[in-house]
């Protein structure tokens, strides 16, 4: 299982990388961490004309905060993000989510941007981006644009990035210090892609919910915000009963498909179970966060 031949470029500037993408007219692939791309090349699932390696472009692995918005460079290794004090302080949900991503050795090489651009519907980082109302910065031929997570993921392994655009950074507003959050996932083994994943972020006080995000992974071709369930929580608060109702709403709202790994029925069932678990844990954390 050896990769096919390809031309290799390691530009030292992002604009040069973009121009190379243009030159190859959609037949080149961007190489960031390679943890998803290289296995696909080893299987010869596709044969790119060229690989554009971003490892020599400076400034793509910064983690910084700019007026309450976290900026995480696309080439930031998942492991570095996991260890980042700034991220664990301002985006603790992402720190929790990263613990679910593969194994430590894959996080050594895998990148934040690479995982998001790869858009595996079962992956944790796209789900997290959506749950945190994040966005990505894309550099293209005519400069940079920002794409909200909601507008980024289109279908299985595809985003709305143009063939000549490179995802260069992720921007996520810092989380409210008084919130509750949880990532729940069911996979056959730890480190596997989720059969179903669920992320909950809750804000509010005294049993009332002022903000709710509930996002699924592994159901359909992209992470999905479960708005009907969110609305129920906003309306009824976050006690056990309303959470139970919200999880039933999730089961009704999701549109899972069957594949050899799991039937649609089982995915729907799991969605309800994991939504309930995530919401209960998030609600608990929210309650605790107001004390002390």
């Amino acid at each position: 299982m050896k990769p096919p031949k390809f031309a290799y470029h390691a530009p030292e500037q992002l604009d040069e990388a973009v121009q190379l993408l243009e030159r190859y007219a959609g037949n080149a692939r961007v190489l960031s961490g390679g943890q998803s791309l290289i296995p696909m090349l080893n299987f010869r699932l596709f044969v790119p004309e060229a690989l554009i390696d971003l490892r020599r472009v400076p400034g793509l692995a910064d983690i910084r905060i700019d007026q309450d918005t976290l900026h995480i460079g696309a080439m930031t290794r998942q492991r570095a993000a996991e260890n980042s004090g700034l991220i664990s302080n301002k985006l603790p949900l992402m720190t929790e989510a990263l613990g679910w991503v593969g194994h430590l050795p894959t996080r050594s090489r895998g990148t934040i941007g690479g995982s998001i651009a790869h858009a595996d519907p079962s992956a944790e980082l796209p789900m997290t981006l959506l749950a945190l109302d994040g966005a990505v910065v894309a550099r293209g031929l005519s400069g940079e644009r920002t794409i909200a997570a909601d507008d980024l993921f289109s279908s299985f392994f595809s985003t709305t990035l143009a063939p000549t655009e490179i995802l260069c950074a992720v921007r996520i507003p810092a989380m409210n210090t008084h919130c509750g959050f949880a990532v729940e996932e069911y996979a056959r083994r730890k480190g596997d892609f989720a059969i179903v994943g669920m992320t909950a972020v809750l804000e509010g006080k005294d049993g009332k919910c002022t903000r709710a995000r509930l996002v699924s992974a592994g159901i359909g071709g992209r992470p999905v915000r479960l708005r009907a369930a969110e609305d129920l929580l906003l309306k009824n608060g976050v006690d056990a009963e309303s959470i139970s109702m919200a999880s039933r709403a999730v089961m009704e709202a999701v549109e899972p498909t069957s594949d050899p790994n799991a039937s649609a029925d089982y995915r729907r069932h799991l969605a309800g179970v994991l939504a309930e678990r995530a919401l209960l844990r998030a609600a608990n954390m929210l309650k605790e966060s107001r004390h002390g």
């Binding site: 050896k2 299987f43 010869r44 083994r189 790994n261 039937s263 089982y266 069932h269 179970v273």
Partner: protein, 788 residues
Amino acid sequence: MSSPGANKGFVGQSLPRREDHRLLRGQGQYIADFTLPGMLHVAFVRSSVAHARIKSVDLSRAAAAPGVHFVMSGLELAKEIPPVQDQQLPLPRKWRTTVPHKIFDPRQPLLAWDKVRHVGEAVAVIVADNRYLAEDAVDLVSVDYEFLDAVVDAEAALGAAAAVLHEQNGTNLLAEFSVAKGDVAAAFAAAKQTLKRRFYHHRYAGIPMECRGVAAMHEARTGAVTIWSSTQVVHWVRREVALTLGMSEARVRCVALDVGGGFGTKGHVYPEDLLLPYLARRIGRPVKWIEDRREHLQSACHSRDQIHDAEIAFDASGKILAFRDSMIMDCGAWNPVGIGIPYNTASHLIGPYKVEHFSVRARVAATNKVPNAPYRGAGRPEAVQVVERLMDLIARELGVEPAAVRRRNLVTAADMPYAAGIPYRDGQPIVYDSGDYPLALEKVLAEIGGIDAFRVRQRAARVEGRHLGLGLGMYTEGTGVGPFEGATVRVDPSGKIYVSAGSCPQGQGMETIFSQITADLWKVNPEDVILSLADTAAIPMGFGTIASRSTVNLSGAIHVASERLRGKTFNIAANMLECAAADLELRDGRVGVVGVPDMSVTLADVARASRPGWDHQRPEGVDAGLEETYYWEPATVTWAYAAHAVIVDVDVRTGHVKLEKYVIAHDCGVVVNPMLAEGQIIGGAVQGIGGALFEGFNYDSEGQLLTGSFMDYLLPTASDVPEITVLHHESPSPLNPLGVKGLGEGGAIAPPVAIANAVCDALSEFRAEFNSTPITPEDVIRAARKAA
């Protein structure tokens, strides 16, 4: 330096392994590490369709690709080389004349030429400067197929409407046999209570971490061919290569280097083992093929995959009155090993129980899947699943503990030796030679804290909404099967003891345990034993390592060869010391007079004295040399056994089955190295757990393999399995000098059924029955929901 245990020797000690020295440093030599000057690299064009006639193979673009030296299709090859021999594991005449059977062996060509019969079957071969270039050339090959209907269900395969894989056979029935004792029909007719169920044991496989690999070289000077293969059976490879290439065995040598796991998957001769030496001879350069993981999953043999329709008759006390079973094994497209597996299944269906009336009918069906060959357990896990699930079903029917039903029926120590009443696959009547099966059961139950205490905990957990379950799995295992194993023992001029043998290691620690055994026999240190294994040049005849047989058979061969050689050694030493041979003993690498510490000679001295020619010191009538070869031919198998107990915690909301505790009471007779024995048992058990819960090959209706990578074929990891407690019991075997029994496979036999029984127990309120493997989370949810 190791020292013998007081009065006991090295056997029985947990000596750390000799093999570790090189393996820990990354200095092992696996076939992928092996190079020869001028070596070329092989890749195969493998079929992407399950069943089709091959109309044409166009190799022209591949032949012209950069770095390509040679290309060949099956049609060309078929003109030169015959297909793989029938029935690599022949059954002895005694079996063939005792058990009514019918076998058709289709004989697989080295490259498919008329039809392809499974996805992954090799169609053409490319030889190039390196694997990268060879794979580039593979992409340039076009094959024109005429599609045929795929057969993917073993029962459907035996139906009239199914496409036939091997037209010359006229049917997809590759083999059938039946075996029986007593009067099953009468017993069932008279029985007041019977249970009938269908059981399915799914398709999974050994999946060693090292894939297969073969290198070969043809030596122009001598005409000899050498094959290095990641194989468990170097002498089989030599035999088949000699036959296929029309050569004398004396000019064919097969060696296995360090092998990264076998588990049975590497336990027979594959087409690649024969094709590589052919290519080496044809091209005139050394060649090497290293299987990649995608290839492995679609061409290295799969295993298990059996359907059983079994019925059991019992009385109100839970005593088994009669058992009958009709089974079908899904053999895939070819049958390299013959009916060894299904007959293993049949002969292990009685297990550790007294069953007076018994009958099994077995059929082997061809389907468009990877061929089925033995994998750790080799038919026994399937048998044990049937019997042990039935025991639990009887218990449920009668409202008693599963352990109670087992106790009611177990053969006891007082019954030993116990004749089970049907023949083993070596043709000999099955006789359980030694053991205490009820004790094994009591041991595991004691280790988990007793059944009563568990039931209390289980009830309390249920109140909290948690589902704990206890499952048992007991088995007997025929080990150390013949026909033979050979050992040459020689006293080296250095005084060290040299042993060469036909056994082939893949991680069992043979260099360590056989040096322990030899050290005890010769009163030397294990470090002073030199071993040569897995090399046909080192011993004329050998059988190899499959079927939990090497400890038993090789220890027997070493023992007898050593006994005889010791006699000769004493004769020569007596001549040197001018005493009687009867007054001599071995001590610390020397031969000395009993009771006279100063009167001795070293083994090196005796080796020197034994040489031919001038100034030898052999007495009259004693020929030169200090070496003996002996082929141990066991009369029949010796019976290991175990009881497994597992406690599970089932999450009925996600379907996740967590293994909370796993206990094994195991008896493989005398244990040579407890640490290594435990490693074998635990390693096997974890593979069994993998089969129970995670692993599985799935095909779609067109014969496409859906589980073609490790993303889909899930292997258990360290966080998926619990710590496993092993309790040893030693019932020495009366059938060999050391009293050992085999243990390589045992661990993998019981986990699927023990876990199934545990999950059924956990979900007993839903009256769940898990009679098929694997048990997926979805299966659990469905069972819990059905009753809700």
